[in-house]
Amino acid sequence: MDDILKQSLIILPAFNEEGALPGLLAEIRESAPGADIAVLNDCSLDHTAAVARKHGALVLDLPCNLGVGGAVQAGFQYAFQRGYRYVIRCDGDGQHPPSEIPKLVEAMRSGDVDLVVGSRFLENDRESYKSTALRSIGIRGLAVLLTLICRARVTDPTSGFQMLNRPMLTYFARSYPLDYPEPESLALLRRQGYRFREVGTRFRARTTGTSSIKSWGAMYYMLKVGLALLVDRARTVNPRYARHNLIREDL
């Protein structure tokens, strides 16, 4: 596992997470030794950037708030420029336990995949994740829709606990949705010929911060993602960033 981790950048999108970061960074060092860690500070109002620097992480300090999609893409671009082979994304609020990172790494190593997604619904582990009825109905509906669109099983379409390889990284550094990116990015990557696989992981209740999807925003979330998925069907595949071309070039 060490060889893969040495070539990996772990990115942590964070917005007002100064409370959660010290513990999280320590956990990551323990579970994923050798990997570089970059905190993507999405223009926090607290001392997220200073705390992250103090605990030895690289900090991408965005000068204006871009939302999760924009912040994560900034991380992809940095990783691409610095030549990392893999990127592991893990939310800064501690929702994604670093002790589960080895599972992602193993799936990436063994399978012929470009993106590994940690799913909280794959194994019967629903108790560990509490959610409102409306939200779980929304997530289920989205999972069914995406399974149809991607022609591959999707159980947790909103999971941001992911690991990607360099070709995938190259594509996402170029084009990635701006807000609520996870479901749409799955549909996009399938169209470009990439492969993803879900592995069952435990999730934790968030320790600090609030979900980026507020209850009234769930409606907007569904409409926005629905529209995006619909229009994506009519978009052209960009051959420059299709899987077989990037694999061959090995940038």
């Binding site: 204006c64 871009l66 701006l178 619909l230 595949v237």
Partner: protein, 178 residues
């Protein structure tokens, strides 16, 4: 009269062929193709059913308004989706336009739906003027949506680049000192 009919039919035929070709290519200008087909069909109707656009009897007046409204709202929908497809408009702004288009389509198909609004405001008298102003505002607001999306995309790129550069400069400074 005859020449006008022939010219208009030829033009609408061109539009229909163009629309079908655009839609059949599917990956390219899919939604715009449907918009052209709709315009073509509207012109065919105008050529072969000119009585729809003559006379002042109330029944044909309502039908005419429904046809025009239906066409306009369909065009709004298709052009919006095309803009989203080309990454010229973000979904967040497109949602407003899509819902506007859908509401207008509903009004065109079920004219009764607009009845309570008319009785509430007594707007029949003003409706012609309102229509013109409304169409103009639609165009302006549409333009704003496009411009805003472009600005946001540019701002995002600049922002990411600045952050990345800042980190790399900090690393350079460290190696220079060490």
């Amino acid at each position: 009269m005859m020449i006008r009919t022939i010219l208009l039919s030829a033009l609408s035929l061109v539009m229909l062929v163009m629309g079908v070709r655009m839609t059949a290519q599917k990956q390219k200008r899919f939604f715009l193709g449907w918009a052209w087909i709709a315009v073509g069909i509207a012109m065919v109707i105008a050529v072969f059913k000119p009585e729809l656009f003559h006379g002042g009897n109330p029944a044909s007046l309502v039908l005419r308004m429904r046809l025009v409204l239906g066409l306009l709202s369909f065009l709004v929908l298709m052009i919006t989706l095309e803009a989203v497809r080309r990454f010229a408009m973000e979904e967040r702004y497109a949602l407003l336009w899509v819902s506007t288009g859908l509401i207008l389509v509903v009004f065109a198909i079920y004219p009764d739906a607009v009845g309570w609004l008319a009785t509430l405001t007594g707007m029949q008298y003003m409706s012609a003027i309102t229509m013109v102003v409304f169409a103009f505002l639609l165009l302006v607001a549409f333009h704003f949506s496009l411009a805003l999306s472009e600005l946001r995309a540019d701002q995002k790129r600049v922002c990411q680049h600045a952050a990345s550069l800042e980190l790399r400069v900090a690393e350079l400074e460290k190696t220079l000192k060490g």
